[in-house]
């Protein structure tokens, strides 16, 4: 048998970085994809000349042309439906839905076609595409702009769902999503779009889909969150530390498929868990995480698992949105509840 030589990649040049916000990192991710793959196209409302309502696509149409960065008619089902046709016919669409709260006209296209084409044709047709949608409350948007309905999509077989909370992860997950052979929905926390900057490598890199990240080591309780709730959880952890409680924090990053190992490993160490999400409690992703802990770590638990979430009400008009959203104070209460059980 012939020995195979292992060829290592030799870096072409020293990697450089830029100091970017999440929305700038998303923009840089799309720019990188457009530069490196001629089949990538971006479709959406107001994304071309206007550069997107959040400026996520700023400058891209100018650089890559109106046939690759496309201002579409105002029609979500049309955007996703035509993306299906483009994707089965050799292109890689990145479809922007202006706000997650406006995705519902396209729900049938996503549920019945985007997520099912591979299964219905035993892999003969597939739709490698990315759907991007800003989500979440807390920026005093007009009503209906602030939904966080990730579980409508994590419940949907055939699609993956990611939700970055940092600029580095935003770009890395976006590129991984586009390279994934299956459709991926990327939820972008609009509240965190410009909240912080960090060093983001130029050029191509990926963050693996399906892998969470331990943001902070701790020993007494595991806090699990994603997206815009990471800031809330980090503040809560600081406050809890002052009370002598050591918190471990996990940023889930991918909402389907969930990284069970990182959850199990942490909860088996701390014996306690608080799950935080801004979506409504009933049918929320927290319940799936509770189930994962139940399946993997039941005998390690020292207290029932706590969920700190939005309430079972529609996301309210913004005058009351801070009451709807989990706050550091509510999370601290949850932490104290499990620690003092």
């Amino acid at each position: 048998m012939a020995m195979e030589m292992e060829v290592k990649d030799i870096p072409q040049k020293k990697e450089t970085t830029q100091f970017l916000t999440i929305v700038q990192a998303v923009n840089d991710g799309m720019k990188t994809l457009l530069e490196t793959d001629d089949t990538v196209m971006i479709l959406g409302e107001d994304i071309g000349k206007n550069g997107g309502v959040f400026r996520a696509t700023e400058g891209l149409q100018e650089k890559f042309g109106a046939d690759r960065v496309i201002d579409t008619p105002l029609a979500e089902a049309g955007i996703i439906g035509t993306s299906v046709g483009l994707a089965v016919n050799g292109f890689k669409p990145i479809a922007e839905i202006q706000f997650l709260g406006f995705i519902y006209p396209a729900y049938e296209q996503i549920m019945t076609h985007v997520s099912r084409i591979r299964m219905r044709t035993m892999g003969h047709f597939s739709v490698p595409m990315v759907i991007r949608a800003p989500y979440g409350a807390g920026i005093r948007s007009p009503e209906i702009h602030s939904d966080s309905t990730e579980t409508l999509f994590t419940h949907m077989p055939g699609i993956k769902v990611v939700c970055p909370s940092t600029p580095y992860d935003a770009k890395g997950l976006l590129i991984a999503a586009m390279e994934d052979p299956d459709p991926v929905l990327m939820l972008e926390p609009m509240k965190s779009y410009r909240a912080k900057r960090e060093e983001v490598p130029t050029g191509k890199y990926t963050v693996e889909i399906g892998k969470g990240k331990k943001v902070k080591e701790g020993t007494d309780v595991t806090l699990i969150a994603w997206g815009a709730m990471m800031t809330v959880v980090e503040k809560a952890a600081e406050q809890a530390e002052k009370k002598g409680i050591s918190c471990e924090i996990i940023d889930l990053r991918t909402l389907y498929p969930i990284d069970r190992e990182i959850i199990a490993e942490s909860v088996q160490k701390t014996g306690r868990a608080v799950i935080v999400h801004e979506a409504q409690l009933t049918g929320g992703l927290g319940n799936d995480i509770v189930s994962i802990i139940n399946d993997t770590s039941f005998l390690y638990l020292r207290a029932p698992i706590e969920r700190v979430t939005g309430f079972d009400v529609p996301v309210p008009f913004f005058a009351l949105e801070e009451d709807f959203l989990p706050t550091p104070a509510r999370v601290v209460e949850g932490i104290e509840k499990v620690v003092h059980f």
């Binding site: 439906g81 046709g85 050799g90 019945t112 591979r118 044709t121 035993m122």
Partner: protein, 351 residues
């Protein structure tokens, strides 16, 4: 609108040529091809109903009466074009090159029935209504960006024109001027709801005005008219002139599906005066000396043998593989799903 969108016909109910400009094009080869395929898909369709009645096939959606629309449109396509059918368009699919055994498999609840032959761009049948129109626009858009001369055809019924995706599909196609033909078969009923209750417009073709694209109304039981109008619309598309909306006015002779009873909602005498497409073509052939009993007997025997062989192959096809339940949802199976699969297979092994 009826006067602005007259129904285009090449032959009348008696099989007389009424548009002499087509005289030279209606040669024996074409005439026999069209008749052959209509006879073939009708034989397939009747067999399917019979199999369903015997419990050898699942619920089935028949298309009898619409053979001219399905064959004429499918034969107008080039081999490299895209087809986006609905669940009633397996006649068009078969004519375009779908596998007959697999088409029966589809109606027997088998996912294998959605897999087209290698190289054939046939999308799985649209089951929700009108969702395939944006898909066809997207696939056509891709052909335009690739710079090919390929086009796409989307099939849909009269009820589909009430759906939002009808509008979004036509609007996108027209805004981006993509090479697609929207081929409507107006069989006048969406299950039980007649066209008059579906819309307050006199025709479907007139809706094209709203998109700034050509709209043409065709006699959907005149296979020649369907064939030549679809060809024209495809040429228009291939030449970079964008989409066309075609309305083929036809009649569904039978039920919506084998689970449906049309006597509940259709007056018994409705449709009685409509000359079904094969008879019409037969009359034309007789009028023009193309009718040949020996030829008919020969193709009938050949088609019956093909259908019987397809049914036999369908019935002796290997049983559904339980692993297929899990294996085609993602390219790379997520751990969670892999565990579910493993656990279920272990359950089965335990008996």
């Amino acid at each position: 609108m009826n006067t602005q969108y007259p129904i285009k016909r090449i032959i009348d109910d008696e099989g007389n040529l009424i548009d002499a400009s087509y005289q030279d094009q209606l040669n024996e080869q074409l005439v026999k091809d069209l008749y052959y395929h209509m006879h073939r898909i009708r034989t397939f369709d009747r067999k399917a109903i019979s199999l369903q009645r015997q419990g050898r096939l699942g619920t089935y959606a028949p298309f009898e009466g619409q053979e001219a629309s399905q064959v004429g449109s499918a034969l107008a396509l080039n081999a490299d074009d895209w087809m986006f059918p609905t669940y009633r368009d397996h006649g068009a699919k078969l004519t375009f090159g779908a596998d007959m055994m697999k088409t029966y498999l589809y109606w027997n609840g088998r996912v294998e029935g959605c897999v087209p032959p290698e190289g054939k761009k046939i999308f799985p049948p649209a089951v929700p209504i009108a969702t395939q129109l944006p898909h066809a626009a997207g696939a056509a858009w891709a052909e335009k960006r690739k710079g090919t001369k390929n086009a796409a055809i989307a099939y849909f019924g009269d009820g589909a024109t009430s759906e939002g995706d009808f509008h979004e599909g036509l609007n996108f196609a027209s805004v981006f001027q993509v090479p697609v033909v929207f081929f409507n078969q107006n069989n006048r009923y969406a299950i039980s709801v007649p066209i008059e209750k579906q819309m307050n417009s006199e025709t479907i073709a007139q809706k094209a005005v709203a998109y700034g694209i050509p709209g043409v109304r065709i006699d959907g039981n005149d296979c020649f008219s369907v064939y030549f109008e679809v060809k024209k619309a495809l040429e228009h598309a291939r030449n970079g002139n964008g989409p066309t909306l075609l309305e083929a006015v036809t009649w569904r002779t039978g039920a919506h599906t084998t689970a449906d009873d049309p006597t509940k909602y259709r007056p018994e005498d409705q449709g009685k005066g409509i000359v079904e497409p094969l008879l019409r073509m037969e009359r034309f052939m007789k009028n023009n000396g193309y009718w040949d009993e020996a030829w008919l007997a020969e193709i009938d025997e050949k088609i019956k043998a093909e259908v019987e062989a397809a049914v036999e192959a369908m019935e002796s096809y290997p049983k559904a593989n339980v692993e297929d339940l899990f294996d085609h949802v993602y390219a790379n199976m997520p751990l969670e799903l892999a565990d579910q699969k493993e656990s279920y297979l272990a359950h089965l092994r335990r008996g």
